[in-house]
Every structure is written in C-alpha cells, then in structure tokens.
Symmetry: C2
Amino acid sequence: MPASPQRVVADLKKLRELTATAEGSQRLAWTPKWVEAREWFKTTFEGVPVEIETDPAGNLWVTLPGRSTDRVVLGSHLDSVPNGGWLDGALGVIAGAEVLRALHRDGVDLPVSVSVVDWADEEGARFGRSLFGSGAVSGTLEVDQIRGFRDRNGVTLEEAVRAHGVHLETILEAGRILPSIKASAELHIEQGPVLEAAGLRLAALHGILGVERSMVKLRGQAAHAGATPIPMRRDTTLAAARMAVEIRDLGLKHDAFSTIGVWRVHPAVPTAVNGRTEFSVDMRHLDRGVLESMVAGLREIVARVAAEERCEAELETLWSIAPIAFDPDLVRFAADAVEARSGVRQIMPSGPMHDSAEMARAGVPTVMMFVPSIRGLSHTHIEDTAEADLELGVAAFDDLVRRMLPWAAER
Amino acid sequence: MPASPQRVVADLKKLRELTATAEGSQRLAWTPKWVEAREWFKTTFEGVPVEIETDPAGNLWVTLPGRSTDRVVLGSHLDSVPNGGWLDGALGVIAGAEVLRALHRDGVDLPVSVSVVDWADEEGARFGRSLFGSGAVSGTLEVDQIRGFRDRNGVTLEEAVRAHGVHLETILEAGRILPSIKASAELHIEQGPVLEAAGLRLAALHGILGVERSMVKLRGQAAHAGATPIPMRRDTTLAAARMAVEIRDLGLKHDAFSTIGVWRVHPAVPTAVNGRTEFSVDMRHLDRGVLESMVAGLREIVARVAAEERCEAELETLWSIAPIAFDPDLVRFAADAVEARSGVRQIMPSGPMHDSAEMARAGVPTVMMFVPSIRGLSHTHIEDTAEADLELGVAAFDDLVRRMLPWAAER
C-alpha cells in the first residue's frame, strides 16, 4: 500500500495547529517553536524502526536502514519564515516521512537505506544565511563569514546555534554523510503562479535557475525641484526609472526573470531632484549562456542610460550562482510519475533556491517535484495548495522514490 | 552716493566668519548662532537713526523713519538650513540694510519709511514650517496646526519659539504692521542654473510658480523574484518607473517643472517584486491653467499605467498653492533696473518659495530680483555667486528701491 496522501495532509494540519498563530507559521529556525515542531515530528515515526540523529550542523536525520548503508535522501525543511505558510518546506519533510513509513509498512526489501532529513535553517530568515544545514553538508557554508552574523536583537548566529548544540568549529563535519548519499529527492510547493495559471497540478523539475544579482548605484546632482529646469538636470531617479523599464524588457526578451527589488533615493524629499539613486537587479535563467548575455545587456543599459542622463553609474555584483541541473535519469523518473498521476508531462525549473540545490552542487544525483501554489503566494499565512493537489503530489513522490531505490543501489 | 556693493559683500563675508563652519552656514532659526547673526546685524546700523524691534512672530524690523509711517519693506532672512550657503537669504537682508544706510547717507527726503526685515525661520529646516515669520504677518500661518511640530530631539516648535520670546497665542499680532506696508522688494540668489547657463547676471521676477504636490500610492502583488514570470506580475515598481518617465515628459511638454523626489518600495528586498510603491510628484508652473492641465495629465498617466500594469493607484494631494504674480509696476521698475545694469531685460519666475510670496499673498505690491547661482547650487556650503554679480545685484536693487519710494508714497 503506497504512502497515504491523507495522512500527509492530516500531519501538515497538526503541525500548523502546533506551531502557527493567526499570523502564520512561527517555526523560525533556532527558536522554541522550531524545536517543538521537530519533537512532534519525531513522534510520527512511532512503531517504525528508524534511527534518529541530529548532525553537527543541526540537521535532523531519520533513517530506515536497508541492505546497504548507502542511502536515498528525502529532504526539505520544517523551519519557516516568521508569519510563514503551512506548506513551504514542511510538505517535503512530512511527505518524505510518510513515504518512509509506507516502505516499512509494505515490507519493501530496501536495497539502500532511506533517510528523511529536516535540513536546519533553510530560510535563513533570522541571520540572513539560507540553506544553512544543507550548505554545511555540501561544504559551501563559509563558517568564518557567518560567525558574526547577528539577528535584530544583536544575538550572533554563533550564540544562537550553540544553544542548540551546534558549534561552528565542527559544523562542516556534517559533510561526512555525503559519500553515503546516492540520490536525493524533494517535494515542494511551487511558490509561484505558473502551474495554477496553466491549469496543471504537478511538475517535475529539471533544475534551479542561476542567479545574477547586482546593485546599480547612480550619482547625479541634487537640485531644487522648482529652480532647475528639467533639461538641465542630472536626475538619478529618472535614469533609474528608464533603466528599470529596459531591464524588464531585457528579461522578457530572454524569457527570463529580471526583478528590481531594493530602490533607495537621496535626499528623498518632495522638493528636490535626487542626486543619488540605487536599486537592485535580480536576474535568473536556467542557461548559463543566457545569464551571461543578460549581464552584458544590463551593463549596456546602465552605461547608455547613465550617459544619456549625465549620471555616473556603478554596477556592483551582490551574488552570482550558476544554474543547477538535476540528474537526467531522476528527472525522467519524476516526469514519468508526474505524467502518470496528472496526465501531463510538465517539466520546469525552480526559480527559488532549495536545499536540493546544495545536494546537486555536492554531486548528489538530485530531483524535485512541485505542486501548485494558489495565487502563486508563499512566505505568507495565506500560502495554500488544494488538498487534492497535495495528495496527488504525495502519490507521485511515492512513485518516484520507489523507482529511485533500485537505481540508487546500482550506483 | 548709492549703496556700496563692496560693503554688502564685505558684510556677507563677516557674517560667514561669525556663523559658518567648514560644513557651511549654521544659522538655523531659533538657535544661538541665529541669535548671534542678528545681534551682529543690528551693529551694522551704528550711527544710523533707525528703530529696531522684534515683532510677536520673531521678525526683526529695522526702520528708517520717513515723512509717513507708511513703509517700503526690504526683506529676506538671515536663517539658513544646517550646513547651508552664505548667500541664501542673507544677501537680501544685508543688501536691504546697505540700501537703507545709503538712503540715510544721501540725506534722501523719504516720502515713506523704509524697513529692512529679517523674517524669522524662512527655511523651516528644524520644524518643517517654512515662511514662518512672513506667514504670521500675512496671516497664513496655521497656529494650531504647527503648535505640536517637533524637531529631531523632540523639542516642540512652541517650546523653541517661546525661548525666543515668541508665544503662539499672540503670534498673529505681527500682522498689525501689514496696513502700513505699501510695497515690498527682495533680492535673492537664483538657487538654480538658468541665469548662469544663459550667461546672464541679473533678473527681475514676475512671480512665483504655483505648486501641485501629490503622492502616488500603488498596490500590486509582492511575489518571488524567481517564481513569478514577468508577464504574470503586478509589479508596482515597474509601474512607478513607467509613470516617472511619462511625468517627466508631461513637465517637458508644458515647459514646466515636474519632479519625483520621495520613492519608497515594499518589501524592498532583492528577491521580491514590490507589492507596494509610492512616490511624490512636485509640479510647478506660473500659469494656473497650465498647472490644472498638468494635474489632469498626471491623473491620466497614473490611471492608465496602473491599469496596464494591473495595479491599484491612489493619488493624494500633499500641497497645492496657486501661482503668485508680482506687481506689474514694480516688475517693470525691476526690469528697467536689470536692463540698465546688465544690458539684458531678463524677466523670469521663481520656482522656490520666498518670503515675498507671503507679502504678495497678503496683497502687498511686491517684486524680487535674482543674481545667478554658480552651478545652480544652494542649500550647501558650496553655494556661491561671483562677487561681481553680487555687486551688480546690489546696485540694481538700490536703483529699484529709489524708484519704489515715490511710487509707494502715492498709494
């Protein structure tokens, strides 16, 4: 008997009862509600012969041993942003748990072990470092850089994690598990409107978009709003506005994402032209070559418009991450399951980052599945997915995992 | 012997020595440096039979009595913004003082009295209410509204002015002087780049631009930068950017001023589309009809672009002031003096507000003159005007005042 989609939905609701207020989920990593969520989560394995342990990075591993210590990992995260949704992260962990229990219930002769992992602090909502636990396992976590990160109350990340038994000196030892991981899978909500708009209920993911994130800083000349005629101005806000419109067109032209988020002006009073304006540009695409073209396009737009508006421009790279491709075999398995369950072979990339990116980056064959998000909303208490879609996702994920096991055993 | 332009420049430099730091002028109203400036200013009338008094609004009046208690007023302000320039306001007061002394030196038989006034707190830099003293005389000061205004340190305007002998209960009694004022004139720096760019050294002003100031508030939908494709967004920042470009074109089309100053976005992070954006629009023109057309144009732009970008828009009026026309006779006198001294009959409006606006609004025949500002800069320590231009301005202002006296006597 396969995994019970109804049990997954029921468990998600229980978790919400335990850890959400009217404002939304409060499972912020390294806080009591997060610990409570994990304690409850452990109780969902009663009667199942699992090994439960927390690694040096604070990741919670629940393992059903198979014939080999090699393992397939089903992972996501129980932590949420403050006032977050009930599904972001929790769906993947709780669906993984039910698949694990179903494998045990069905008495499947496991060729490899199966681990459900609740990655620690995926969101990075408190200290600004997302993919904390999975980054420690993959080895991308820059320990010295994050040591001094502080939350709003001045508590350092180092102090906060130490209170949960995590010591930055030994955190990378969490990576010792890596050689045993033969494959990894994650079920997640889309957090975007694409599936809903297309009337689709399920998707296999073939990768995670690369990101090029920059800050554009413009310097012109502050001037009195009533004394400097428009043609004589060096107006950085108007230069930024023209750039913003062109940067959107650049994204559209490449069928990519381009987003202006931060936007700061100075002196920011109604009676003055702004002598300084800066704004962030976030560009994403699955193809590295397209991303490079977009960066070149951004440089061209900024240089040309700044010159036309007689402003000085500086382009600072904030973050740059290459696109991540998932394993072709696993993508095929996922697509087969999606097609069998939903009738449509939908394959798409993820724009948002996920712990699966760290697995893939560490060389682990990895794949993900998405269920739709109603109105595309996430990181809010109104984040939701139709129960029927959640259930379809669990069923397809169960299909996927059962097909991964023999494949992983042969690697 | 006419007023001495050299004396005016020398006095301005003395005032700068007394009240400026390396960061600029520190004659913030209702502070010790401002009081010091006024005390020094009074000493510049030694040997001249003037009456000096401070009115219930804190305005400092220096009057050379003539045959009548009717008077011509030469006024501007000694107060400055923090780190301000050496000329903004001070030029008009100190030039007025020298013209008054010259009238005395020359033994001119004055048909009316001549008063130099240092208007209190023209800048409003500390409490946000500009034209404080002149507004009290004209009667436009809303006493109950400003009572609770506080500075950055929490000091109320009421407390601050009381320490200088000004009581809000009696402040409007300053208006008692109004019936005696038959005409008013002010020499000021342009604070903009128009004269310099045209190679002009002097201008007569025919009025002050009307202002329509609004806040545009946009609501769309916050969304993940990597999960919501561009065509599916309701991106308020992009809507605002398109509006900003069109609002500048609107200003250019009407040969007017239009300025985007404030610009706020939410949630203002690099990884999200902004669900809320708001920005200020300041529009100025000398013609009331043109201003009305611009307001209609702004409404059209905001409504159309918001609809195209699927955002909701709200347009809130922040401030609205009708254009102010100066007295046609006095404008002609000023233009004659400008032409005689500089060779060019330059007549233009002022974009920035001045105390003269309050005189004109109160029905006093009023006029102003401008000298150029180097690079159009003001409200900064690098504000400057060529000494030769300052001197030319003083000479023309002296011409103007001498022609105003008999004219005022006949009213």
